[in-house]
C-alpha cells in the first residue's frame, strides 16, 4: 500500500491550519490517519473529539543530574555548558531542566564525576478514534525541549497504524514557525499545504515557510484563508505566488458562520461551501496524492 502524507503548515500562527486540517479530513474520502504535530499548542482534538484508546509517556533525550553530596561547586560545568542550562547556586551545581539538551559535556568535564544522566518524562502521546479516523496527538509538558523528537515519534506512530490498517492517507496538522518542530513535521512528507492569509506579516512568513519546504525538498502549495479580509493583500499574495512559481491551491473566505462553527467545536465543512471540496481536489492533484 502506498501511503501519502500531507502536512498543513503556515509560518505565521493563527491563519487557520487546524480548522482547515479538520475540514479537509472531513471531505477526504480515503481511509486515513490524522496527526496533530503542534505538540506544544495542540487543538485538533477540540474539533475532532477523539475518545482515548491509548496513552504513552514520551521521554525524549536524557538530561544531566548532579549528585549534590559530591558536588563541590567548582563551576567547571557552568562555563562548559553551551545552553546556559547549569548554574552554581549556593555552592552546588543546579540543572535547569527546561534548557538541558542532554549533550553530556558537563559529565565529561566534571572533575568530581558527580554528574550523571537521567530520563525525564517530557510529555504524553495519545491515540483516539474519531468519526474521521484515528487521531494521533500529543502534549509536550510546559517549557519542554525535544519538540522535534516528539513530532518524529508521533509521525512514526501514525505511519505504523496507516500501514497496519491499510490506510492510504495521513493528514498532519503542523506547528507554526520554521524551527525544530516544523522541520520535523515536514521532512519526508509527500506534500505541504501552506495556509496563508492576506496580511504583510503572513506574506513574510509564507516566504520563509516556502523557503524551508524548498530546503527540505518537499513540494508545496498555498491556500489563502480569509481572502476577503483584504482583497488588496490577497492580490499581492497571488502575484507573489505567480512570480515565484508557487501553486495557489484555493481560497477560503472569512465568514462569521465559519468562526461560529469552530466556536461551538464543530468542523465548519458545510460553512466553507464548495471552496472546500475544490481545495481538496487541487491538493490531491498538485500533491499527486492519488496514484
Amino acid at each position: 500500500m502506498n501511503i501519502r502524507e500531507v502536512v498543513i503548515i503556515s509560518g505565521k500562527g493563527g491563519t487557520g491550519k487546524t480548522t482547515l486540517t479538520a475540514s479537509l479530513a472531513s471531505v477526504a474520502e480515503e481511509r486515513k490517519i490524522l496527526a496533530d504535530a503542534d505538540v506544544d499548542a495542540p487543538n485538533l482534538a477540540l474539533l475532532l473529539h477523539p475518545g482515548e484508546s491509548s496513552r504513552q509517556p514520551f521521554f525524549g533525550m536524557s538530561i544531566a543530574e548532579v549528585d549534590h553530596a559530591r558536588c563541590v561547586g567548582c563551576g567547571v560545568c557552568e562555563v562548559s555548558c553551551r545552553y546556559d542550562a547549569i548554574h552554581v547556586r549556593d555552592g552546588k551545581a543546579v540543572v535547569d531542566e527546561g534548557f538541558c539538551e542532554g549533550c553530556r559535556v558537563c559529565l565529561h568535564v566534571c572533575p568530581e564525576q558527580c554528574i550523571s544522566l537521567k530520563t525525564i518524562e517530557r510529555g504524553t502521546v495519545r491515540r483516539g478514534d474519531t468519526a474521521l479516523g484515528p487521531l494521533w496527538h500529543a502534549r509536550l509538558y510546559l517549557g519542554g525541549e525535544n519538540t522535534g523528537l516528539m513530532v518524529a515519534l508521533l509521525r512514526k506512530e501514525a505511519r505504523k497504524e496507516a500501514e497496519a490498517s491499510g490506510s492510504s492517507l495521513i493528514i498532519t496538522d503542523g506547528p507554526p514557525g520554521i524551527g525544530c518542530p516544523v522541520t520535523s513535521s515536514v521532512t519526508g512528507a509527500d506534500f505541504a499545504v501552506i495556509v496563508s492569509e492576506p496580511s504583510r506579516s503572513a506574506l513574510s512568513d509564507l516566504r520563509r515557510a516556502a523557503e524551508l519546504c524548498g530546503i527540505l525538498a518537499v513540494p508545496f502549495g498555498i491556500v489563502i484563508n480569509r481572502w476577503n479580509l483584504s482583497e488588496e493583500l490577497t492580490e499581492t499574495i497571488n502575484e507573489t505566488c505567480g512570480n515565484e512559481g508557487w501553486p495557489v491551491l484555493g481560497t477560503i473566505p472569512f465568514e462569521e458562520k465559519i468562526a461560529e462553527a469552530v466556536g461551538a467545536g464543530r468542523i465548519p465543512a458545510e460553512e466553507m461551501g464548495d471552496a472546500l471540496p475544490e481545495l481538496w481536489h487541487a491538493i490531491q492533484k498538485t500533491g499527486r496524492l492519488k496514484r
Binding site: 500562527g13 553551551r82 549533550c103 553530556r104 517549557g143 530546503i215 483584504s230
Partner: protein, 280 residues
C-alpha cells in the same frame, strides 16, 4: 520593567498589541523574539540600523589528523557524526547542536569547531523606536540560540523598559523568552483554541513565577468564557480589544490600528495605565 507579550496560540494579536503599546510609549525598547517569524517591524515602520550575524560553533574534522577511533561518533547524542567502523567519520552539520563535546573526546584533536551563521540580529530603530529583532536563518533549528543572543544584545541598550514580542506555543522558545521578563502579558481570543492554549500559558507563567495579566483580543468573534481560568490562576483581564474588520485591514497593510482606529488607541492607553497601576 521588562514586559513579555505572549499567547500560546498563534495569531491572537501578540504583535499588533505589542506594536500599539510601543507606539503609545516610544521610549520602550522593542524586542522581537519571535525569531522564526519576526513581524513586529512591519507594524512599527522603517528600520534603520545594522545587521549582526548570530553564529554557533559547528563541529568540523581535520581529515589528516583523524586516527579513525570513532570516539566522536560514540559521544555525539544528536547522531550528527556518522562512523562506519573504519575511515574518517562524517559530520551532518544540520544535526550538530554545537555542544562542544566531540572536540573534547577526540584523542588526536582532529575535531574542531567553526562558527556558522544560524540567524541575525537587526539592531537600531524602527519608526523612531529603539528596536532589536532576532531572525532565525531558514533551515536552522537553533531558535533558542538566536533568542538568547538577541536578549544579550538588548542589555547593551540604555532603555531599562523592554517590550518583548514572544514566539507562539509553550515549548522552549517561549520559556527562553519569558525567563527574562518581569511580567507576562498574555493575549488571548474568545475561541476554544484560544482558551485551550491560554490555559497552557497560564500554567507556564505560574510555574515560572512570573506575574501575569491578560488582554482579550477580537472580542465578539467568539463567546468562550475564561472567567474560571482567571479565578484559578488569580489573573486579571486588563483590557479588551473588539474584533473589527477595519483594524484587521489596517494591520494587514502593515499599518498599526493604533494610528488608524481611535477606539483601538484609547484601549491601548487604558491598557498601559492598568499595567502601571497593577505592576508598579
Amino acid at each position: 520593567m521588562k514586559i513579555a507579550v505572549a499567547s500560546g496560540k498563534g495569531g491572537t494579536g501578540k504583535t499588533s498589541i505589542s506594536a500599539s503599546l510601543l507606539l503609545a510609549r516610544p521610549d520602550t525598547l522593542a524586542i522581537d523574539l519571535d525569531v522564526e517569524e519576526p513581524n513586529l517591524s512591519i507594524l512599527l515602520g522603517s528600520f534603520e540600523g545594522r545587521v549582526i550575524p548570530v553564529t554557533m560553533p559547528i563541529a568540523r574534522i581535520k581529515r589528516s589528523k583523524c586516527s579513525s577511533c570513532g570516539k566522536c561518533a560514540e559521544a555525539c547524542v544528536y547522531g550528527a557524526i556518522a562512523w562506519l567502523g573504519a575511515g574518517v567519520p562524517v559530520i551532518n552539520e544540520s544535526l550538530c547542536r554545537g555542544c562542544g563535546l566531540c572536540p573534547r573526546v577526540c584523542p588526536p584533536e582532529a575535531l574542531y569547531e567553526e562558527d556558522q551563521v544560524v540567524g541575525e540580529i537587526r539592531s537600531g530603530t524602527c519608526g523612531g523606536i529603539s528596536f532589536l529583532e532576532g531572525r532565525l536563518r531558514v533551515g536552522s533549528v537553533n531558535t533558542v540560540r538566536v533568542i538568547e543572543e538577541t536578549v544579550k544584545k538588548a542589555r547593551s541598550f540604555d532603555e531599562t523598559n523592554w517590550l518583548m514580542d514572544c514566539p507562539p506555543g509553550t515549548a522552549c522558545p517561549v520559556a527562553a523568552s519569558l525567563r527574562h521578563a518581569d511580567m507576562a502579558l498574555l493575549v488571548t481570543e474568545p475561541t476554544p483554541f484560544g482558551r485551550s492554549d491560554l490555559e497552557g500559558m497560564l500554567e507556564m507563567t505560574a510555574d515560572m513565577r512570573i506575574p501575569t495579566a491578560l488582554v482579550i483580543n477580537k472580542t465578539g468573534m467568539g463567546n468562550i468564557v475564561i472567567d474560571d481560568l482567571c479565578m484559578r490562576f488569580s489573573v486579571d483581564i486588563l483590557a479588551r480589544y473588539p474584533f473589527s474588520r477595519s483594524a484587521a485591514k489596517s494591520g494587514a497593510r502593515g499599518e498599526s490600528p493604533f494610528k488608524t482606529d481611535a477606539g483601538w488607541a484609547e484601549t491601548t492607553r487604558f491598557l498601559w495605565s492598568e499595567i502601571e497601576r497593577r505592576f508598579p
